[in-house]
């Protein structure tokens, strides 16, 4: 196993560190003693064959699963128990492997929903939608419109997302995650089921998000070509165990990784 050494890209301080984390469901070990970190401003990919524990790892990061063992520190603070709500409040946003949007709502409203945590006026203020509540809404709408412009989805602003093609739904979901202005953005297979053109668009957006908003991104992806192009560092899991960690070039040359993907003679 190799620890990330001498990485040229000036990834800043450690944003999130995972130390010796294990997660079991009954007798099944989903994640077994994995350690790695995510640095501020980088694009970090997590790859591995099916059932390697990638999504479990994301779920641990945003507090959806509680690991039985190990330490997690986000922004330098070690975490005891955390719920997804706290993670969101703390600045972690995510998208899902299967699109999880409010299908009956418009793209605009879905992205607006991502601002919920940033709204400070209470329920009753929102109900009268007047004075400070209106000012606040206008401000939030402005931020949402910036995201709509950023993702080039102006044409579908008022379309219920259930009617949209899959690629656009994924984009709206990314928009909703961005609306939270997260410090850490978790993307679970952002390009699954997309055609080549949609993949290229999405890759562009991920790079732009990273560049424009300075958002740290952790993503799971099966398309190895995309991963190698996008990410600064790659973590490889297999059967819940970390088998490699390093720059795309290092990982590609790693014998353990090649074996995991191509299989070895038993």
């Amino acid at each position: 196993m190799r620890s990330p050494t001498g990485h040229e890209i000036a990834a800043g301080d450690v944003l999130l560190s995972i130390e010796d984390v294990s997660l079991t469901f009954g007798g099944v070990k989903a994640v077994a003693g994995v350690s790695f970190d995510i640095r501020k401003g980088e694009i970090r990919a997590i790859i591995g064959p099916n059932g390697a524990g990638k999504t479990s790892m994301l779920n641990v990061i945003n507090g959806f699963y509680q690991p039985q063992h190990g330490r997690i520190a986000f922004k330098g603070k070690a975490r005891a128990r955390m719920r997804p709500y706290d993670a969101a409040r703390g600045g972690i946003a995510r998208t899902f492997q299967n699109v999880a949007l409010f299908r009956g709502m418009t793209a605009l409203d879905n992205i607006m929903a991502g601002r919920t945590l940033k709204m400070h006026r209470g329920f009753f203020w929102q109900l009268v939608r007047f004075g400070p509540a209106l000012t606040e809404e206008v401000e939030h709408r402005h931020r949402v419109e910036e995201i709509i412009d950023f993702l080039k989805i102006q044409a579908i602003r008022k379309v219920p997302v259930g009617k949209l093609p899959y690629g656009l739904q994924k984009r709206v979901e990314l928009g909703r995650a961005l609306a939270m202005e997260p410090d850490l953005l978790l993307l679970d297979e952002p390009m699954a089921g997309m055609n080549l053109e949609e993949k290229e668009d999405m890759s562009r957006f991920i790079l732009d998000v990273n560049d424009h908003y300075g958002t740290t991104i952790a993503l799971i992806e099966h398309d190895i070509g995309v991963v190698m192009d996008l990410s600064d560092r790659v973590l490889v899991l297999d059967h819940g165990i970390k088998i490699a960690d390093g720059t795309p070039a290092e990982v590609q040359a790693d014998q353990a990784v090649i074996d995991a993907y191509l299989g070895v003679a038993h």
């Binding site: 709509i148 412009d149 044409a155 602003r157 732009d208 560049d211 424009h212």
Partner: protein
């Protein structure tokens, strides 16, 4: 009066100054940004353009330089044109979707030193070919996203250029006066813009237009369509196309109307609904798409709504166009039409964003008569025009109330139009181009000895209406052996307007008479066969059926009658025709992928049939190789019947025995 004032202002920057005075508080440009329409009034636009020009001049742009404009319709790109013209530089708009190679060709050919572009995509494209553009010094961009990490030694945001230019003007009165003098120096004879034609054949050519020519041409059409400062247009046509520069940029400056730039190309139709333009141009394709969208949505409507819709459309078909043309219509029909307007036409136009349109134009290709009259019947003042880049667009246009779907209108005021011996349309026009940029030879090729410009299109003035009819590309027009004019596409289009005829190929150039090979439309003829109890097993069988021949012979005879009415075309009536045993197919190379018939290829492939058409026999055997959809090849043989058709008596045409 706008025209007289425009006559005094002989360049666009001077017109801008006039407008800033005349229409100071009125909107000049709108742009939907972050979901909200932003507005700039004429005086604000002048201030922006002056500051922009000052900024560009500080960067080194000077009189006589060329500056490329690449991107979609955004106010700052229109202002780039204005700012360049203020300094006496010549803007060169380029199609935003041009691939890097085309872009490189145009930018290199136009010797651009500067480029004003929309966003990172265009910057990337220009940088990728920068080794072919040794003269390019500076690129300015509108949208900063994604450009932060680029080397900014030759790159600057338009916003910064405007800001710095504005500051320089404010702090330095001498500089401010210098800019005013630069604008004053501009003359009508200056090269105002270079528009590169899209170039269907070979490399594109740069059409150089003079300032006064542009303004005079635009003034004529502004008067023709009575456009004024209260009008509004949606700027969604490609910046580099003469249509946008004319209809939007030039006409807006001359008439003082407002130009609304959509949020993005995808939202143009939705933005149109919000803006409600009063002047609208679209190619026939767009009108067709709009109609299709409506029809598809009507399929989902309740049966009551469907019946109401179709009843009202039927009424509109009978009376709508007459009402629009101001003809006499029975009072009862008028009352019903008013009810239809309330229930169907007005809401329909509103959905399409056409509610406020006073003048709508279409051009570019032939528009189907049904499509054309649909829009006119619901009360949209849709008209056709004919023109080209070299003329600065308009040569002819249909005047209000005098509309015929098969003409392109009457000759515009101040346009001198002539039909050459060969049938080619020649013109002299107010907006007539100076020449092709750096291409004297090509310029000389299209200008006749007496100074007329050749359009490359063949046409004639219709005796009945006095309107121009365009029949074909001039190079495709031929002659029968008796000397009468033969325009294949014109005849084919007439045939294809019949729903029964799917495709038609006619021959006649250097022959004694005209013959046609037809494809039936399987849907239309199949439907007809079903209703008439005609049994058939295949396309080939239906196509060979005697009653089908009978049906099509009637259509051909009608085409002949309509040809006979036009003196010029009367000689080109169809004497004999046959129905092909198979459909012309792109897989067999008989038509292009865009469904244009490859006439000479078809002639070679079906040579035995063509020989039979001309040697008088009544049937012929043909065997052709066909390509199936899975790529296998097979051969198809058939005995095809040939049928004679009577020609209609033609006034003045030489009658020869068949």
């Amino acid at each position: 009066m706008a025209t007289s004032a425009a006559a005094r202002a002989d360049t666009f920057p001077k017109l801008l100054i006039r407008n800033a005075g005349l229409y100071a508080g009125r909107p000049a440009y709108r742009h939907k940004d972050l979901g909200i329409w932003q507005v700039w009034t004429w005086d604000e636009v002048l201030a922006q353009a002056r500051a922009y020009a000052a900024g560009l001049s500080r960067l080194g742009l000077a009189r006589g330089d060329t500056i490329a404009i690449v991107g979609s319709n955004r106010p700052r790109l229109y202002w780039s044109v204005m700012a360049a013209q203020m300094l006496g530089a010549i803007p060169v708009p380029v199609y935003a979707d041009a691939v890097a190679d085309e872009l490189a060709y145009v930018l290199a050919h136009a010797d651009v030193r500067f480029a004003a572009v929309e966003d990172q995509e265009q910057v990337d494209k220009i940088l990728s070919v920068s080794d072919r553009l040794p003269k390019l010094e500076q690129v300015v961009y509108d949208e900063p996203r994604g450009l932060r990490d680029f080397d900014h030694s030759r790159l600057k945001a338009i916003d910064d250029v405007i800001r710095e230019g504005g500051e320089a003007l404010a702090s330095d009165a001498v500089f401010d006066q210098w800019l005013d003098r630069e604008i004053e120096k501009g003359q009508g004879s200056d090269r105002s813009i270079i528009l590169y034609t899209s170039g269907t054949t070979g490399q594109s050519k740069g059409v150089v237009l003079s300032a006064i020519g542009c303004i005079n041409a635009a003034s004529d059409t502004v008067a023709f369509d009575k456009l004024d400062a209260r009008d509004e247009a949606l700027a969604y046509l490609p910046l580099a196309w003469v249509g946008d520069h004319y209809l939007n940029y030039a006409q807006a400056l001359v008439a003082g109307f407002c130009l609304a730039c959509p949020e993005s190309a995808d939202t143009a139709m939705a933005d149109m609904k919000e803006i409600g333009p009063t002047f609208f141009f679209a190619p026939p394709r767009v009108f067709e798409q709009m109609l299709t969208r409506v029809m598809i949505r009507m399929e989902d409507a309740s049966s009551l709504k469907q019946r109401l819709f179709h009843a009202c459309l039927g009424l509109a078909r009978r009376h709508g166009e007459k009402i629009l043309n101001g003809e006499r219509v029975p009072l009862a029909a008028r009352a019903l039409y008013a009810l239809g307007e309330l229930l169907v036409y007005a809401p329909l136009k509103n959905v399409l964003g056409l509610s406020r349109v006073r003048v709508a134009y279409t051009a570019g290709e032939a528009i189907g008569p049904d499509l054309f009259s649909f829009y006119r019947s619901i009360g949209l003042n849709l008209k056709q025009l004919y023109g080209q880049t070299e003329a600065f667009l308009y040569l002819t246009a249909q005047p209000d109330g005098k509309i015929y779907s098969d003409t392109v209108g009457s000759v515009m005021p101040n346009v001198d139009l002539r039909i050459a011996e060969s049938g080619e349309v020649l013109f002299k026009s107010p907006g007539q181009f100076i020449g092709y940029f750096k291409d004297e030879a090509k310029t000389a090729e299209v200008i006749t000895a007496d100074g007329y410009v050749k359009t490359g299109d063949a046409g004639f003035i219709d005796a009945k209406t006095g309107h121009l009819k365009i029949i074909d590309r001039a190079k495709d027009v031929g002659h029968l052996n008796d000397g009468s004019l033969f325009a294949p596409k014109y005849v084919e289009n007439k045939l294809k307007f019949y729903p029964n005829i799917r495709e038609a190929v006619v021959y006649g150039d250097k022959r004694d008479f005209v013959c046609a090979m037809l494809n039936i439309d399987l849907t239309a003829v199949g439907d007809w066969a079903e209703r008439n109890n005609i049994v058939y097993g295949s396309y080939q069988e239906l196509a060979a059926h005697p009653q089908v021949y009978e049906l099509l012979a009637r259509n051909v005879a009608e085409v002949n009658r309509s040809l006979a009415e036009e003196k010029v075309m009367a000689g080109a009536q169809i004497r004999r025709f046959l129905i092909l045993h198979k459909e012309l197919d792109a897989d067999d190379g008989e038509v292009t992928r865009t469904q244009k018939v490859r006439r000479s290829f078809v002639a070679e492939r079906y040579a035995p049939l063509i020989n039979a058409l001309y040697d008088g026999s009544h049937e012929a055997d043909i065997s052709t190789e066909v390509t199936f959809e899975d790529g296998r090849k097979g051969s198809l043989s058939a005995r095809v019947k040939i049928r004679d058709v009577a020609t209609a008596p033609a006034p003045g045409a030489l009658e020869k025995a068949a």
